[in-house]
Symmetry: C2
Subunit: 243 residues, 2 copies
DNA sequence: TGTACATCAGTGAACGCGCGTTCACTGATGTAC
DNA sequence: TGTACATCAGTGAACGCGCGTTCACTGATGTAC
């Protein structure tokens, strides 16, 4: 630690940040395929091999990017979760879902990076590229299901889900956070996720664009019907669950 | 037309078919990225440039493949449509949806080719790569919505969809086939599509695998709830729509 | 039936491209005495 | 304050790779008389 107070380390951190930032910009304009060491270096005015001073390999860089992007998504939906009143499950679901779609529309290439085809030749590290952010998003969705569960439970009388159906995945993580959510509630969480993911990914990949000019209206309608099908009034929510 | 009865043309057709077949095999084992002229030629024991005798360019070949794969999907769901009794909308929806998922699971790379990121550098022709098959699948989904509409209509009282929301897309194609389906019914069709696409694409891209070991059960549950939310009994259907 | 010509599928070599990665190096920045 | 040394970010050239595409060609297959 010299008199300049770790100047080298600061420069190093700045360059690392710039590499990540340039990579994200390239991805935003050219898709995940555009993330190449050479393109990043070209954009930064340096040589490609200089990047090896900051990332051991291209896949390392991509893993870092996925983490960063996924964390941004998690931040966005977590903020929406906090924004909606805890006592109003319909509002929670709709706010969260709109934040999810909003983030995806604002970061379509990020959405592709997380949920679509990986970058050609990319090999994710074991445990997944972004286990932390994935856990946060999963927990968020489980929270939506937990909020809706008191209302929706009545429709799940003949559901035959067991905890064993979720072995190894969400199970161990979600049970402590939402102890009152039964297996059928976890299934509900996955169903909600499917509804959101379906419309959003159709829209991101351009399949909705050829069908309707009002994807926003369609999404709002979907949410209204989703909430209704969970036994929650879409207008005013019911302050007390039935029975 | 010589004495051998167009032998050259037959050979030509056979080689063309073999190229397509080998390309599909490569895609099935290595993903859409694996479709390269050189890889196909290698597999066939010929040189890469020989393929130019059959396809003007790589994108031409990819377009042909997308058409073929999409047509196979359309065949699968059309067959399911014909298999279910026309008088039972719940069965129609569930049979169709299971065929959709079944085809996707049997042809995951095909699903990616149609609905996911395009092959790197691929430029689709204007009008889309497979307008015909896309139209058939769209019509199928519209048919599901039309079958459910008499039951579901009651939930769409305050829906504000207009025909103008669907300008340029499904609109012109679907109206003649299902004259009784209003704009809100088309919105329902897109919502149904979203439900199916969401769970199936999560599964195909491996995001469901880390959550549940019973995606099949989850999909069946989703269908049961979908059908219920449309006002159709999931056990026995109602032979007459309400009111 | 036999010969001269046209067709055309496929070859082999080459082009230019961008990629990830390695290697020996230079030269500025920081550190120790 | 000045000098000798260590650190280390970045360079420049090169590697081998696979890709789409072009070009002049060969040689077998079919056709016309």
């Amino acid at each position: 630690m010299g008199g300049t107070g770790g100047r080298r380390e600061r420069l190093r951190a700045e360059t690392t940040a710039e590499i990540r930032q340039v990579a994200l910009k390239l991805m935003a304009s050219g898709g995940p395929d555009a993330i190449t060491l050479r393109a990043i270096a070209r954009e930064m005015g340096m040589t490609a091999n200089a990047i090896y001073g900051y990332f051991a390999t291209r896949d390392d860089l991509v893993t870092t990017l996925i983490n960063e992007v996924y964390a941004a998504l998690a931040d966005a939906v977590d903020a929406a979760w906090a924004d909606a009143p805890a006592t109003d499950p319909a509002s929670r679901i709709q706010t969260w879902a709109r934040a999810f779609r909003g983030w995806a529309l604002a970061n379509p290439e990020g959405f592709r990076l997380i949920y679509g085809d990986p970058v050609p030749g990319y090999q994710a590290p074991e445990g997944g590229a972004a286990p932390n952010a994935a856990y946060r998003v999963c927990t968020g969705i489980a929270g939506l299901a937990a909020a809706a569960w008191p209302y929706a439970e009545q429709f799940y009388a003949d559901s035959d889900f067991q905890w064993s159906d979720f072995d190894g995945g969400l199970l161990g993580k979600v049970r402590p956070a939402y102890p009152d959510l039964p297996p059928a509630g976890v299934a509900l969480a996955l169903r909600i996720w499917g509804h959101l993911h379906g419309l959003v990914s159709l829209e991101i990949y351009g399949h909705l664009r050829t069908q309707t000019i009002s994807p926003d209206k369609l999404f709002r309608e979907e949410l209204a019907h989703l909430v209704r099908s969970l036994g929650i009034d879409s207008e005013g929510y019911r302050p007390e669950p039935p029975r």
